[in-house]
């Protein structure tokens, strides 16, 4: 897979992509959007798969759920992976279903041994059913649990150690979560070993004000912000280039805007960060 940046595939851009075939490292889909049996979505995806590597990114598996995984959902995932043979496969460190109710949001889990066991069991089950390794993504968080006994970076690293999965490092999520908790994104990233990171996500977020205090919301509805671009330059200069995705899901703009963001990611990855040349403040663990 080329290191060139990719974009999230949106139906509004099907035609432009098929007509112009702009150079992109890959296209990423939300797997659930292609779980219909037939029709246009599959016709477009199959045609685009001839020109671009695909990344399948799930939003509904509920890997962090206390209950068992939804077997029919797993089976539909398997069918799609068999049919399209995507280059990358990923899901979230979050829960989104409970007791048969689907909540359609990436909900936070406490970072405890009990959560870790449930998560790892589900990662292993997903890897077994799909017959391949998956990547797990750090979530955006708007709250913490008072009884978490592990920090998020260590929790993620331990999950990869127990299951053999890789990490999808979402730098916007790191920034959003650490800002919302008054923590430091660079300290967070320093605790992620570089060899575990196999994909990077970049996106925009919004800032809301509640009772005079700011909280950042991961709405994927704007350009990547400058601090996240800085985190990206720092990360790439330490761990090397990785397949990098521009995510934009709300108020999706013209494709030119996404191509511009992808190009900006390519440029940022190609040019060593000035900070990284001058010092090693944001060093990632080896």
């Amino acid at each position: 897979m080329s290191a060139a940046a990719g974009i999230g595939l949106k139906p509004a851009h099907y035609r432009a992509l098929l007509t112009d075939r702009p150079p992109l490292g890959f296209l990423e889909i939300h797997t659930e959007n292609y779980m219909g049996a037939g029709g246009s979505p599959h016709r477009y995806l199959a045609a685009l798969a001839e020109s671009y590597p695909l990344s399948f990114h799930g939003v509904g598996m509920s890997l962090g759920g206390a209950g068992p995984l939804n077997r029919s959902h797993l089976a539909r995932w398997r069918e799609l992976v068999d049919r399209y043979d995507p280059t990358l496969v990923s899901e979230h460190v979050a829960w989104s279903s409970h007791d048969g109710y689907a909540l359609h949001d990436l909900l936070p889990i406490p970072y405890t041994e009990e959560s870790l066991r449930a998560l790892c069991e589900h990662i292993e089950q997903m890897q077994d059913v799909l017959g391949r390794r998956i990547l797990i993504e750090n979530p955006s968080r708007y709250l913490e649990f008072s009884y978490s006994d592990t920090a998020e970076p260590e929790f993620l690293v331990e999950a990869t150690a127990r299951t053999g999965c890789g990490l999808l490092l979402d730098l916007n999520n790191v920034f959003v979560s650490t800002c919302n908790q008054g923590e430091d994104a660079t300290r967070y990233l320093a605790r992620i070993p570089s060899h575990l990171v196999e994909e990077i996500h970049l996106a925009g977020h919004s800032i809301n004000t509640v009772d005079g205090e700011e909280i950042r919301i991961d709405d994927h509805g704007s350009p990547v912000c400058d601090p996240v671009w800085q985190l990206y330059r720092d990360t790439v200069s330490r761990i090397g280039r990785r397949p990098t995705l521009i995510e934009w899901d709300t108020d999706v703009p013209e494709i030119e805007v996404l191509l511009g963001e992808a190009e900006r990611a390519n440029e940022a990855a190609a040019v060593p960060s000035r900070d990284s040349i001058q010092g090693n403040r944001y060093a990632l663990a080896p």
Binding site: Y14, R15, H30, N33, S40, P41, I215, I217
Partner: protein, 106 residues
């Protein structure tokens, strides 16, 4: 009773044809070419409906008044108010006055 041609007629196709007609009459040839491209593409692949499983947060969230869940549950405030007011059917249907059931029960 309908004849064969109306049996085969497709509302979608007539919609596309009408749209093309408007473009040809009012805009430059590039727009017409784009529309032809669109029509050709839709012939090959179909109409692209939006995906629904997009993991972004909802808009508004905590801002007062802009959150999805900041809504008034008193039903009487909500009266159908879109294009239905422009449509008369033989069975009636343009009436938009709140029915008794929508008035709050005290």
């Amino acid at each position: 009773m309908r004849n064969n041609s109306s049996l085969r007629s497709s509302l979608i196709a007539s919609g596309v044809a009408a749209a093309l007609g408007m473009v040809a009459a009012t805009t430059a040839s590039t727009a017409a070419a784009q529309d032809q491209n669109k029509e050709k593409m839709e012939k090959c692949y179909g109409v692209a409906l939006g995906g629904k499983n997009d993991c972004a947060a909802g808009p508004g969230t905590t801002c007062a008044g802009s959150s999805t869940i900041d809504y008034q549950s008193n039903a009487w405030k909500y009266v159908p108010a879109g294009t239905c007011s422009d449509i008369d059917t033989p069975h009636g249907g343009g009436s938009l006055k709140p029915s008794d059931s929508q008035v709050p029960k005290s």
